[in-house]
């Protein structure tokens, strides 16, 4: 009998054979195989997700074992994704598992995630979370965010119709709020949050169910609260840009930019971040975003830079990168330029 091992979950009238077939055809990426990803991978493999793509550049350590229950003492020092693939394959040899022992970055994200149906954010830092969010908005992908720290966890599904993670939280810098390896967490708390994330993921794969909610788990009160979320008009990733929450001016109009470039062309530099523009942007230097992120371009901290890309998705991200490098005056060209 096909799908015999899944017979009990197929007894659920909402799943049945058709639902199981959906799961067996799904290709799901898990970014991070740690406190959230390790327990979740066990359940998703057991549930019969047809193809799991595991991405994590970390190795197993002794202090992982209390919560990353997929691993054993023999795995210490091994790449997490390699150990995970070994264990998961023994539990379900009918599914395909791809393992990538690397951390997610701008350079590899497209290659790793372009063909997956669903992305699970099981990371432990905001940089990776916002990279996933940015990519999903740009490529119209769906992802499930989850995070856990001390006695609290959060889970939310983000789809192309919005909102996105940046609608709820602007680009958070790592260190502003601690992570669980610094402030502590119980293994069971991480497992509950990861399985809540798994539940949301399966609801999406099986029923395309979008909750439009941020779920908050409180392990002390044993409570799951649901907060309705909505797309922000001025979201800097999926909307029109920062207006409401920041007093900082980051946008400049084409008229302002033209004036700046006429007044002091050596001081004010317009950069076109598009990969391969078919039309040259008047007065701009063409530097694709990837070159800047690779560190291949030097920036003068005393000059003013104005960034342009077609959809204003890359520009705010690059602005943050340059600001972290100490370039104080970086702006985003506000309107689309059709010359």
């Amino acid at each position: 009998m096909p799908f015999k091992r899944y017979a009990i979950q197929m007894k659920l009238s909402e799943i049945g054979k058709a639902g199981q077939e959906k799961l067996s055809l799904a290709k799901v990426a898990m970014i991070g195989v740690g406190g959230l990803g390790a327990p979740l991978a066990l359940n998703l493999a057991a549930a019969g997700i047809g193809h799991l793509v595991l991405v994590d550049g970390d190795q197993v350590s002794l202090e992982n074992l209390h919560r990353q229950v997929l691993f054993t003492e023999e795995d210490i020092g091994k790449a997490k994704v390699v150990a995970a693939k070994t264990h998961l394959s023994k539990r379900n040899s009918e599914i395909k598992i791809s393992a990538y022992a690397e951390f997610l970055s701008f350079q590899n994200i497209s290659q790793l995630l372009s063909e997956v149906d669903l992305i699970l954010d099981c990371t432990d830092n905001f940089h990776a979370r916002f990279l996933i969010n940015q990519y999903c908005v740009e490529q119209k992908k769906v992802f499930v965010y989850a995070s856990v720290d001390q006695w609290r966890g959060q889970v939310a599904l983000f789809t192309p119709k919005g909102p996105c993670l940046a609608c709820l939280f602007s680009h958070v810098k790592d260190g502003l709020f601690q992570d669980c390896s610094q402030s502590g967490v119980l293994g069971v708390t991480a497992s509950v949050v990861s399985n809540l994330q798994g539940q949301v993921a399966l609801h999406w794969l099986l029923f395309q169910k979008d909750f439009s909610a941020l779920f908050l788990y409180d392990a002390k009160k044993l409570q799951i609260l649901s907060y309705k979320i909505q797309k922000q008009k001025y979201c800097e990733v999926c909307g029109e840009g920062v207006k409401e929450r920041s007093d900082e001016v980051i946008f400049k109009s084409w008229n302002e930019v033209s004036r700046l470039m006429q007044d002091a062309p050596d001081q004010n530099i317009l950069i076109d971040l598009r990969d391969a523009p078919t039309d040259a942007l008047k007065g701009a230097l063409h530097i694709p975003m990837v070159k800047i992120l690779n560190g291949a371009t030097a920036f003068d901290k005393n000059k003013t830079y104005i960034l342009y890309c077609e959809k204003r998705i890359k520009s705010p991200f690059v602005r943050e990168v340059l600001r972290k490098q100490g370039v104080a005056h970086v702006y985003v060209l506000q309107e689309r330029v059709d010359q």
Partner: protein, 81 residues
Amino acid sequence: MKIKLKFFAYYETLFQKDEMEVEISEHTTVRDVFFKVLHKNPHAHQLFKNTMFAVNQSYVQSATKLNSDDELAFIPPVAGG
């Protein structure tokens, strides 16, 4: 009028409690309340930009005006995984 503040994660640790009542005047916004209760915090502006606000369990923008007996939640992101 009175409203109830609900604190999650970072804010629960910061205030050492998960909720409290505050007295506000008419036309007070979410933003006003945030800076009223965090006026001594040197990172208040940074925290403000990275906090989700919800009134009566629904997301709101910080310019939203509050009504009597509203429940205003400060929800910060959680980092770990």
